[in-house]
């Protein structure tokens, strides 16, 4: 009896195809799992990652050498100088803010509302994971349903700077979607001119908005979230004005650098 075997090259090729097919099947399986059971997948993944995140949080900046070795020395010097300048500016603004806050408190008391009520202090949470650990513009924080956190709650840092909103909550953790998340739209106001605008997230703490050429907006203008006590969100860093266009493109940078955040405040919606 004559038996026909596959030639060696054909056998290799079909084995190769079989391996790729296995990878494709695995890809579909995990994609379906994450797609149909996102909450369970998230619970499982965070439970698995939590010990490592806690180690990272415990060691804090000591692990930053893993990424800092790729940064040139000149950049660090430049960054240091910029930070010193910003610190001086922040000191001056704090004094000014103190004076304004007292005045604002007096005004609210006239309206029979206290400043403490208005601030509505929230829950303090530790950031377990943040960019650039993930390509997503999300934070994972260590407080969840048990601490009274619910979806839609506002997340702040450094006292009063808006970061994002709680997207999903589990018993002991929550995922925060940053306002700068790619494609996300956020209603905001230019503090100086009270101009209303809709910011579009660009990822990595960046926003963009297209405005008519005659819109009253300038570089360094503060962008805030609407409300009785305006919450700072970002600052205008660049305005692109094309002569032929009737619109200008405004680039806004988030005030808080999410890479340096360790704690956040979650405020009830």
């Amino acid at each position: 009896m004559k038996t026909i075997f596959l030639q060696k090259s054909n056998r290799g090729r079909s084995r190769s195809l079989l391996r790729i097919l296995s990878a494709v099947l695995l890809l579909f399986f995990v994609a379906i799992l994450i797609g149909f059971a996102p909450d369970s997948s998230n619970r499982f993944a965070v439970a698995t990652a939590r010990p490592l995140w806690l180690v990272r949080t415990f060691f804090g900046d000591k692990l930053d050498f893993l990424t800092n070795f790729t940064r040139p020395k000149s950049n660090l010097i430049k960054e240091n100088e910029e930070l010193k300048r910003e610190l001086d500016q922040a000191r001056a603004e704090t004094i000014f803010y103190g004076a304004l806050s007292t005045e604002y408190g007096k005004l609210l008391s006239v309206l029979d509302r206290s400043l403490e009520d208005e601030k509505n202090f929230g829950k303090l949470g530790t950031v377990l994971a943040k960019p650039p650990q993930s390509p997503y513009d999300t934070l994972v924080i260590d407080i969840g349903r048990a601490a009274g956190v619910s979806a839609g709650d506002l997340v702040l840092s450094f006292g009063n700077i808006a970061l994002g909103r709680v997207n999903s909550v589990e018993e002991s953790h929550a995922t925060v979607l940053l306002f700068s998340n790619g494609g996300a739209e956020t209603q905001a106001i230019v503090e100086r001119s009270d101009l209303s605008l809709v910011l579009t997230g660009k990822g990595g703490g960046g926003f963009e908005v297209k405005l008519p050429q005659d819109a009253d907006i300038a570089v360094d203008d503060l962008i805030v979230l609407p409300g009785l006590l305006p919450t700072p969100l970002g600052q205008v860093v660049k305005i692109d004005t094309a002569a032929a266009s009737s619109f200008k493109t405004v680039s806004v940078r988030a005030l808080a650098n999410v890479n340096n955040i360790r704690w956040v405040e979650v405020k009830k919606n």
């Binding site: 290799g12 190769s16 391996r19 790729i20 296995s22 990878a23 494709v24 695995l26 890809l27 995990v30 994609a31 799992l33 994450i34 797609g35 149909f36 996102p38 909450d39 997948s41 998230n42 499982f44 993944a45 965070v46 698995t48 990652a49 490592l52 995140w53 180690v55 990272r56 692990l63 893993l66 990424t67 994971a129 650039p132 650990q133 993930s134 390509p135 997503y136 999300t138 994972v140 979806a151 839609g152 994002g164 909103r165 709680v166 997207n167 999903s168 995922t175 979607l177 940053l178 306002f179 998340n181 790619g182 494609g183 996300a184 739209e185 956020t186 209603q187 997230g201």
Partner: protein
């Protein structure tokens, strides 16, 4: 020899798993790219990608989540969000290694 191979595989997987939550994502992908060439048919890298996407991505009640909506009511919105970055990334690395390995002269075929 076989046990040594399995042990090497487990150690590399555990190392990659730890790095997944400690390093920036792009640095982790570089380590993952190296590991798929060290280990033969490292399917488990897709599982690591799944864990990363599940942990970092923003879950939603919809299949693809939500995007292009106001973040102020994102949890209610229905739209589209691509939350398979790590899964796709690791899949591409794995398949690229499967295609390239037999064509590399210096690679020791397992």
């Amino acid at each position: 020899m076989k046990i040594a191979g399995i042990l090497k595989r487990i150690l590399i997987d555990l190392f990659l798993f730890a790095l997944l939550f400690l390093l920036p994502w792009w640095l982790w992908l570089i380590f993952a790219a190296v590991s798929v060439f060290i280990i033969d048919r490292q399917y488990e890298i897709i599982v690591l990608g799944f864990i990363a996407d599940a942990a970092y991505g923003a879950p939603s009640s919809n299949f693809f989540g939500s995007m292009g909506k106001s973040t102020q009511n994102l949890f209610l919105a229905d739209g589209f969000e691509f939350r398979f970055i790590f899964i796709i990334g690791t899949f591409v690395l794995l398949v690229t290694s499967m295609i390239l390995k037999p064509r590399l002269r210096f690679y020791n075929k397992m």
